[in-house]
């Protein structure tokens, strides 16, 4: 049925609508879906990683809203701003700014938790605001690889991949190592 277009244009979808997309489109456009609407579950547990393969290489997976242009982290099915379900999978930028960071202590493994197992491991993590010139910006939590340059807020960082692990590292250190794509 041509329900999605009809609902998006403000018409009323009547009868048994077996599509979550149509029902939520109605939310965005202000139309009313009447009748028994069989909303669809989202299989968001399939593929939980943020790392994806794109023409430009391995990048963080993002989502851009086809309707309002908002950008989001991860594979999403609905825009958190305008509630459109017309969204596209995109590669997120490989550069950004370190908003803040910490080093978690007392880890016994890379993915351990602090203070629980009393290990000697230290894990630097931080929030990175990616370089997006439209869409309201995207912030991601990330492992931070420290080099010779001390970490500080507002420093420029670049994306890196090591096997299945991904991280950001100070841009200056990456330049020195010759691995920056900036």
């Amino acid at each position: 049925m041509a329900g999605e277009e009809a609902v998006a244009s403000g018409a009323v979808a009547s009868g048994a609508v077996a599509s979550g997309a149509v029902a939520s489109g109605a939310v965005a456009s202000g139309a009313v879906a009447s009748g028994a609407v069989a909303s669809a579950p989202v299989a968001d547990l399939d593929g939980d990683g943020l790392l994806g393969d794109f023409p430009e290489g391995r990048r963080l997976v993002g989502t851009r809203c086809d309707q309002c242009g908002a950008a989001m982290i991860g594979a999403r099915v609905v825009c958190s701003s305008c509630v459109s379900q017309a969204v596209s999978r995109v590669a997120l930028p490989a550069t950004g700014v370190l908003y803040s960071f910490t080093r978690l202590h007392g880890l016994s493994g890379q993915r351990g938790v602090p203070g629980q197992d009393g290990g000697a491991g230290v894990r630097p993590i931080g929030y990175v605001d990616l370089d997006l010139d439209s869409g309201g910006g995207v912030r991601t939590l990330a492992d931070i690889r420290e080099g010779a340059v001390p970490l500080r807020p507002d420093m420029r960082v670049v994306f890196g991949v090591d096997g299945d692990d991904w991280f950001f590292t100070p841009a200056q250190a990456a330049d020195e190592a010759g691995s920056s794509d900036e």
């Binding site: 939980d48 943020l50 908002a70 950008a71 989001m72 982290i73 991860g74 958190s80 701003s81 908003y99 803040s100 960071f101 910490t102 080093r103 978690l104 202590h105 007392g106 993915r111 938790v113 602090p114 203070g115 629980q116 197992d117 894990r123 993590i125 931080g126 929030y127 605001d129 997006l132 309201g136 910006g137 995207v138 912030r139 939590l141 990330a142 500080r152 807020p153 507002d154």
Partner: protein, 382 residues
């Protein structure tokens, strides 16, 4: 005209590691004591609201059945660290709208069941999958705060020192030993720049209050108690991109609404019990609650204006840092502190002539939100 609502009694157990007690074992004594304090029996209760995050199914009913308090609606409320205060907000709503006259609010949590470590967060959350834990959230807040403000790591330590000094006077506090700035800074690092003594402890606890309408209070000859002047519950709003972690909008907006509802301003407050889960939080909330302007929170603390003898006593109970933070219990325990302070029953930690109190808890741990829930209450001596 909505009904005026009063907290007519409060009771709690000392927070600590009560390994031999279940959720029922933690909560049943303060439940009995709170009913006795109100001078009522179980048949006087119209509704029960129970805040907890890790108690499992029917925690409230498991507790109330021990004293045969059934039939009436019992609602289990989970809003992470705001669970207990959210339960209180629900009770206030029911009474102020005339759906109940007398309600019991229970906050209870047993964190020793996890054997130590950080608070278990939802494994479905994107950032939790990446390894995020609550100390990391507050540590990143602290890193940014120290970068932007005229403050350094010793100010974070001073928050803990003040909390312990207050907690030393509180028989309900988990930690009753004072500490020095040097001890706080030398403690084991947890998440830079936070050391162990800048983090609230793991523990168990339960607190219970009885709320009543003005009419029920008079008719059943209950104690005067304290008036609920404001009850505000906000949820977080997602930010996909930039967020100023030093200015948590959920607490700013909740405070603004609470002041408006109560008809007072920050200068009227005699005491505040705020959500100092980690020491950085207290500095951030000084500004959020309008106690001070931009970049001056650390100076407020250093000058002693938020302790006894200052402008307003922040966390006279010792706060989460010293009293402890059994998640779902904390919001109700703050109200118990306000009740004792505003009724002149706070003993060695009594704030002289206290008339106005504000309590604040906020629950986090969700990617994209500053915090998921924030509850602020304002109370006036009756």
């Amino acid at each position: 005209m909505s009904e005026q609502v009063y907290v007519v009694s409060a009771a709690m157990i000392p927070f600590g590691k009560h390994r031999g007690s279940s959720y029922v074992g933690l909560a049943v004594s303060p439940l009995i004591d709170a009913l006795r304090g109100a001078g009522i029996g179980k048949s006087d209760v119209d509704a029960v609201y129970v805040g907890h995050s890790y108690g499992g199914m029917m925690t409230g009913q498991r507790i109330t059945k021990e004293i045969g308090l059934g039939t009436v609606p019992t609602l289990n409320v989970d809003n992470a660290c705001s669970s207990g205060a959210s339960a209180l907000h629900e009770a206030w709503t029911a009474i102020s709208q005339g759906q109940a006259e007398v309600a019991v609010v229970i906050g209870v949590e047993k964190l020793t069941q996890f054997g130590g470590g950080t608070l278990p967060l939802s494994p479905e959350d994107r950032e939790v999958k990446q390894g995020l834990v609550m100390p990391a959230v507050y540590a990143m807040r602290a890193t940014r705060y120290l970068y932007e403000n005229d403050a350094d790591v010793t100010d974070l330590a001073r928050v803990s020192v003040k909390a312990r000094r207050h907690g030393a006077l509180n028989p309900f506090a988990q930690f009753r030993q004072e500490v020095t700035v040097e001890q706080v800074l030398a403690a084991r690092p947890v998440a830079d720049p936070l050391t162990l003594l800048m983090c609230c402890p793991t523990g168990d606890g339960a607190a219970v209050t009885v709320l009543a309408s003005e009419r029920a209070r008079a008719r059943r000859r209950m104690p005067r108690g304290i008036r609920v002047a404001a009850s505000v519950l906000h949820s977080g709003q997602v930010a996909e991109g930039f967020r100023d972690m030093t200015k948590p909008e959920i607490s700013y907006e909740s405070a603004r609404d609470a002041y408006a509802q109560a008809g007072i301003g920050p200068g009227d407050l005699d005491l505040i019990e705020l959500h100092d889960a980690f020491s950085i939080a207290e500095l951030v909330y000084y500004e959020a609650f309008g106690l001070t302007g931009k970049h001056t929170a650390a100076a407020l603390l250093r000058d002693g204006r938020t302790t006894f003898g200052g402008d307003v006593v922040v966390n006279p109970s010792g706060g989460l840092l010293a009293k402890g933070h059994p998640v779902g219990a904390s919001g109700v325990a703050q109200v118990a502190e306000a009740f004792w302070q505003l009724t002149g029953q706070a003993g060695a930690r009594q704030v002289p002539d206290a008339r106005w109190a504000l309590t604040h808890v906020t629950g986090g741990g969700t990617a994209g939100l500053d915090h998921g829930a924030c509850t602020i209450h304002v109370f006036e001596a009756a």
